[in-house]
């Protein structure tokens, strides 16, 4: 079942916090994963895989490079949930 943007954002923030220790409140839609949140590619892969499980979606590896901001990820997950 599709979740709201806010629900996905909160879930994603929890995953980011779990992997990197970044405060959930800092995970905002307009933040860039690399430039603002300083998340490296290894952590990003873990976040993606954990997001797949949490949101029951599939995020192909070649799609990950397009997920530059938190909003990109939230939108992708929302669309994938259909």
């Amino acid at each position: 079942m599709a979740q709201s943007t806010q629900e996905i954002l909160e879930g994603l923030a929890e995953i980011v916090n779990e992997e990197t220790g970044i405060d959930t409140g800092s995970v905002e839609l307009d933040k860039s994963f690399t430039d603002d949140l300083d998340i490296d590619s290894l952590s990003m892969m873990t976040i993606v895989v954990n997001a797949e499980e949490k949101f029951n979606v599939r995020i192909p590896d070649d799609e990950v490079k397009n997920l530059k901001t938190v909003r990109d990820a939230v939108d992708f997950i929302a669309a994938a949930q259909g």
């Binding site: 779990e18 992997e19 990197t20 952590s43 873990t46």
Partner: protein, 415 residues
């Protein structure tokens, strides 16, 4: 200044062990004679029907000390090492120095066995995509020294001696060589181990190395007792800050002791059994004393390897006799594994800390569980009550031996 003129001193201590979360807690437990061994409450003990149901587990779980992201990204062996290194570094006064003069030498016997095997489980159950991207740097045995190097910004080198249960002592020996050869002024050195996992337990049990005294874990580690039946698996880390004396004096550091001599040898006899006459181990002890510039008569205390295995304790006795002859009649020997269990790659480092503190406080700690001395043991084993060490300039030895025939002896001197 020639390399032999450079004296190496101990300026900081850190440990997380089965009997305490810090060095002061651990030493207090040792002086109180407390065992860290207890029945394991993991569900895998019954699931795999392990023949040994107890171990000396870490006293203070790392998630009580570290940030969540640290426990997630580091194997337990690196977590313990980081905790111990932080304590040692703070205890040394967090010296400020050129990062290219600061090094790390922290060994491990087994490395990231928890990560290796849990990620193997993940691969089989969930597929390759779920294998944690940091699993390789987490499982590599140099993970702990790398984590400390990153933490402290140590750029003179980060090294990982691997010599089974001699690894921690070898780390300290390597540190002495680094300082004496001019490669570093300060080295954070020691050992770490986190192998309380069903596979290593099953492996050690299969070779009949472990005590099976399941009904009385606290009495299971009993070095030199005639009823000993094997070692008790422990875990944790012990790390010290070693420093050239000139560097330590210049910054007014507190100095616990000098790490004055190092002896190393290999048995080339058997992959696991100690050479029964103790030739290799005695050579390591003699080399430690001679490189310390001392004589056998200067040695007033030995913290023995003494794992509580039937064969090993006798072989070490023979080695001490071979090295010291009749002098061994009156050298107080402590067997602290009776309380801590056997921390494998961290054991020699933890016992180095006990040796340092024994000299610092001039007190050899009593071993526990020595109820009836094995008649094959002809040593002055401290038990019942602690032994006061004399005044004056003293040497004490820390012995460590590892599967593979590795022998390391460290000679510490009072300051």
């Amino acid at each position: 200044m020639s390399s032999s003129d450079i004296r190496v001193v101990v300026t900081g201590l850190g440990a997380t062990t089965p009997v305490g979360g810090t060095v002061p807690e651990t030493w207090e437990a040792i002086l109180a004679g407390r065992s860290g061994a207890r029945t394991m409450d993991f569900d895998w003990v019954a699931k795999y029907e392990l023949p040994v149901t107890f171990a000396a587990q870490i006293h203070t779980p790392p998630d009580q000390v570290l940030a969540k992201v640290e426990t997630r990204r580091l194997d337990p062996s690196s977590q313990y090492a980081l905790i111990a290194a932080r304590e040692a570094w703070a205890d040394a006064g967090a010296p400020e120095l050129d990062p290219e003069r600061l090094a790390v030498a922290v060994g491990s016997g087994i490395g990231g066995v928890w990560t290796l095997l849990s990620q193997w489980d993940t691969l089989r159950e969930k597929g390759p995509r779920r294998v944690y991207p940091l699993s390789v740097p987490m499982l590599m045995p140099n993970g702990p020294s790398a984590a400390i190097s990153l933490e402290l910004g140590a750029r003179a080198g980060a090294h990982t001696p691997v010599s089974a249960c001699a690894s921690g002592a070898e780390g300290m020996g390597y540190a002495v060589q680094m300082i004496r050869s001019g490669r570093a002024d300060v080295v954070v050195a020691g050992g770490t181990e986190a192998a309380i996992h069903p596979m290593p337990i099953a492996g050690f049990a299969a070779m009949q190395a472990l005590s099976t005294r399941n009904d009385d874990p606290a009495a299971a580690s009993r070095p030199y007792d005639k009823d000993r039946d094997g070692f008790v698996l422990g875990e944790g880390a012990a790390i010290i800050v070693l420093e050239s004396e000139a560097h330590a004096r210049a910054r007014g550091a507190k100095i616990y002791a000098e790490l004055a001599g190092v002896g190393m040898s290999a048995d080339a006899y058997h992959i696991t059994a100690p050479e029964p006459e103790g030739a290799g181990a005695s050579r390591a002890m003699l080399e430690a004393v001679s490189t310390a510039g001392g004589t056998l008569r200067d040695v007033v205390h030995i913290n023995a390897h003494a794992t509580s295995t039937p064969v090993g304790d006798v072989a070490e006795t023979n080695a001490i006799r071979r090295a010291f002859g009749d002098l061994a009649d009156s050298i107080p020997v402590s067997a602290t594994k009776s309380m801590t269990g056997h921390l494998l790659g961290a054991a020699g480092a933890l016992e180095a800390i006990f040796t340092i503190l024994a000299l610092h406080h001039r007190l050899a700690p009593a071993s526990i569980n020595l109820d009836t001395m094995d008649p094959q043991i002809s040593l002055d084993v401290v038990h019942g009550s602690h032994r006061q060490l004399p005044a004056g300039d003293l040497l004490a030895l820390d012995n460590s031996f590892g599967f593979g025939g590795h022998n390391v002896a460290l000679a510490f001197r009072t300051v």
